[in-house]
């Protein structure tokens, strides 16, 4: 019963984990903005989420056993194509990284709001009609 109640969270928690992963990756790119020879990396969020959730959407139930924590495969990383050549062959484009970082932070927060919304819905459903 509890598993069925928390099923709806699984998709969003998967998305939240991937958002945190991407945030960390971009932070690493920004920290290495001046490292000679460093290649900036990123992953495509949509396909990573599809792979992590087994193609399930936010509404569909997910088979038990697929969502084991830690069993999630790592997203496929891609290397950035430099827009300008750099003498030390560093491919971090600071403008692109900062934009991606801000974008990812906003989307992380929106996923948080989705989770908060479902938690509140569940809690409201558990309340009896005597309570406000």
């Amino acid at each position: 019963m509890i598993a069925r109640l928390t099923e709806s969270f699984d998709f969003h928690s998967q998305a939240l984990t991937l958002r945190a992963e991407r945030q960390r990756l971009i932070a690493g790119n920004i920290a290495n903005a001046d490292t000679p020879g460093f290649q900036a990396r990123d992953f495509e969020f949509a396909s990573a989420l599809r792979a992590a959730s087994g193609g399930a959407g936010p509404g569909s139930a997910i088979a038990a056993g697929v969502m084991t924590p830690g069993g999630r495969s790592a997203p496929v990383l891609r290397y950035a194509v430099p827009s300008q050549t750099n003498l030390d062959s560093n491919t971090v484009d600071m403008d692109r990284e900062r934009a991606a970082f801000a974008d990812n932070a906003v989307k992380y927060e929106s996923t948080l709001r989705f989770i908060n919304g479902s938690v509140r819905t569940l809690l409201d459903a558990m309340k009896s009609h005597h309570q406000g």
Binding site: L16, T17, A20, E21, Q23, R24, L25, A27, G28, I30, A31, N32, A33, D34, T35, P36, F38, R41, A74, L77, M94, R98, F101, A102, A105, Y108, E109, L112, I115, N116, V119, R120, L123
Partner: protein
């Protein structure tokens, strides 16, 4: 918890950039140093950055911090100025100054300070996201 690792990564960036700023400050302070008693003037220094995987990270772990691997010395000869009355002049009347190029150092300083700010901003964003994550389920 991967968001907590951001503090390690951005922190490594901040500390590496502040080390770079330290070296720039040392170079600028010694820009007009003349040769000491041993005959060699101050040589400009520069930090060399290297990607550093976080402690306990496997080879498949993607995000990585940064560290200063070495501090290299610029071995080019120092600036020589003809000034026979200078106490530091050699037999031919030349004074050897340090080989610091102030223009290069100023550019280096601006670049270091920009990167420092970027890393601080990363930390601030991660902090506010983590605080909001802690409030999941609270109305």
């Amino acid at each position: 918890m991967s968001l907590l690792n951001i503090f390690d990564i951005a922190g490594s960036g901040v500390s590496a950039q502040s080390q770079r700023l330290n070296v720039v400050a040392s170079n600028l302070a010694n820009a007009d140093t003349v040769a000491g008693p041993d005959g060699s003037a101050y040589k400009a220094r520069q930090v060399v950055f290297q990607t550093a995987l976080a402690a306990g990270a496997g080879p498949r772990d993607a995000a990585a911090g940064v560290r200063v691997s070495t501090i290299s010395e610029n071995t080019s000869p120092g600036r020589r100025v003809h000034d026979p009355r200078h106490p530091g002049a050699d037999k031919e009347g030349y004074v050897t100054y340090s080989n610091v190029n102030p223009v290069e150092e100023m550019v280096n300083m601006i670049s270091a300070s920009r990167s420092y700010q970027n890393n601080v901003e990363v930390m601030n964003t991660a902090r506010s996201l983590l605080l909001k994550t802690l409030q999941i389920g609270q109305s």
